[in-house]
Symmetry: C2
Subunit: 338 residues, 2 copies
DNA sequence: ATCTGTCCCGGGAACGGTACCGAAATTTTT
DNA sequence: AAAAATTTCGGTACCGTTCCCGGGACAGAT
């Protein structure tokens, strides 16, 4: 825009050749002599020629842009995943357009709409907490837009999915607490229509079963992510009947908030209650006691999902590749008793 | 793309009218009868017509997209700011394209290049930690691309800037520590070629001066953000000569890491050392002692910057509006002695 | 009956590229 | 020397819009 960006035609005119030749020269096409190619490139540089991406996009029906829909950038997991996405995308010559659903279905649908009308070449999606249907994504699939889910996946859709082993790691984390002598382990569950939440809960349940520990409904709470809710269910867990001696929390911040409350009540961690968080935030190392947590390979999941998407875009073949990225249990003081 | 997206021409053909009429009808232009307008819209709906944004962009030389360059999404401040940007942009019908400089100058330059070639209608920028020059931005300005800086600004450029009162809040924070009886306040400074870092340091220095407290070079350290560095300068501060009795840290995580180290050494906070952080992360409320911090109005800055940018885009007039957003001191246990 | 004005509409030129097709120029082969 | 092959280039259509310009129809005014 501005004053007068030089175009391919300007170059052609001043050089006395046709614009097709200029185009070929600039795209290193074979059908052009080295001599003219040199002259064209030289002049292009001198005129500060910048190809008009919009024109190219219109002609090629391709934008070299990937659309990303995530719940929130403020969520460190997704922020990291976006890092991985951008790294892979950029080094492959793609731009990235990020939309946030703010954990709502309607915004997610809007985002999808705008990204599709922006003609992105492919989509990377982690669904919102509210999402309990998939027709909007099916619409995109019907339009042949390559689509890959990561982390918050929709297993019913026939597209590639990248996820972490929520069941295994949850099983493993629960067993770790059991090994530390916990008999009554409280579990903070997420929305159960989400694949991840279900798997985590199942991992917990199976671990209890495998170790002959009775499942107590009263020890399982549902996080609703509202302010004050952690306080509420913590009180519920520790005031009604026999208190838990272990906590598997849905994320580190909640875990720390619970720990804070328990310490105020005079409980010792991990002696009275062992605590295990989720996400392995930096802060885990700087609290007392240091917080055991689960390292979620966010960046790697972004990388993996983007790689699959790019392959999908270039090969045009439909895959349903599932890729599982392993999580890691990081044991620190808050859960170590021996 | 895909099978066969219907175009404006398809509608025209099946309706037996010209595509100009269809275009007018869809854009609610006046030069079209209500009857045909109705028919066109009806058919458009039935054919699931989606306007081809690329064609429109090319024709109008406008993308309805804002470009954003920030250091890192992983940084909560910028993640929040992005939230504010997207909110304002989306409700004004604009998309947002986010690029991360990863705190490097070269990536920042690349980002600018790609955003410009993507023909974004305007730019929102928070410069990287490395950025000590401004010619690349001057290039964009010369091309008449509306540009607004926020938080990490470049004061030498004649464009709108949105920033917070780093000097004032730093002065205020330092004075707070002084009022709590601190005589030897350590200060962790950022890179001094950054406007914000300089202002913060100056606020600290001026507060000391205003309270007749000698400035000690040995109490001022430069954070370089490398792993292990906090440990290093904490040791330096507390092992060489007389120890500080107050700390003004560059961010909450560093503050918490310092507190952790000091507690390990048997120091009491705030009794022996009062601590003040920066950013007011959620975690501040869940540590012991709870951490005093400075609330940085990230979201609001994003909102303000975007509003100015949009005004700039639509009015085409060049302003140099400066907008100052006030920060807030949040006093908690870590700095309260009385 | 002609003129003026309003209301609709169509034709076509852009926007700035890419790509196909054919042709001229040059070289190689027969 | 003629034919064939190859290299290099120009012409042009096209991507799907928007928008300017001009023209036809029809009304009311003269």
């Amino acid at each position: 825009m501005s004053k007068s960006d030089s175009t391919i035609r300007d170059i052609a005119r001043t050089l006395g050749i046709s614009k097709s030749t200029v185009s070929r020269a600039l795209n290193n096409h074979y059908d052009v002599s080295q001599e003219t190619a040199r002259k064209v490139k030289e002049l292009a540089l001198k005129m500060d020629y910048q190809p008009n991406v919009l024109a190219r996009q219109l002609k090629l029906q391709r934008t070299n842009t990937l659309g990303v829909i995530i719940p929130e950038t403020i969520n460190r997991f997704f922020a990291k995943a976006v890092g991985g996405i951008q790294e892979v995308a950029n080094s492959a010559g793609y731009n990235v357009m990020i939309c946030q659903s703010n954990e709502t279905l309607t915004l997610e649908q809007n985002n999808l709409q705008t990204l599709m009308s922006s003609k992105v070449d492919g989509l990377l999606v982690s669904v919102s907490r509210q999402t309990d249907r998939s027709d909007h994504f099916q619409y995109a699939i019907n339009k042949d837009i390559p689509l890959v889910f990561f982390d918050r996946i929709l297993e019913e859709l026939a597209v590639p999915q990248v996820y972490s082993d929520n069941f295994d790691i949850s099983f493993q984390g629960t067993e770790h607490l059991i090994q530390q002598g916990c008999k009554r382990i409280a579990f903070v569950a997420g929305p159960l229509h989400l694949f991840n939440s279900r798997n985590r809960l199942n991992g917990y349940l199976e671990a209890l079963k495998a170790n002959n520990i009775p499942v107590l409904e009263s020890l399982i709470v549902q996080a609703n992510y509202q302010a004050g809710h952690v306080q509420q269910y913590t009180r519920h867990l520790f005031d009604a009947g026999e208190a838990p001696d272990g906590i598997f929390a849905i994320n580190d911040i909640s875990a720390l908030e619970m720990m804070h409350i328990l310490k105020m009540r005079g409980l010792q961690i991990p002696r009275d209650v062992a605590v295990l968080g989720f996400n392995n935030e930096v802060i885990c190392d700087f609290v007392e006691p240091t917080l055991s947590s689960i390292e979620h390979p966010a960046f790697d999941m972004g990388v993996a999902a983007t790689r699959i998407l790019l392959k999908q875009i270039s090969s045009k073949e439909i895959t349903q590749q599932k890729e599982l990225i392993k999580s890691r249990l990081v044991i620190r003081e808050s859960s170590r008793r021996y």
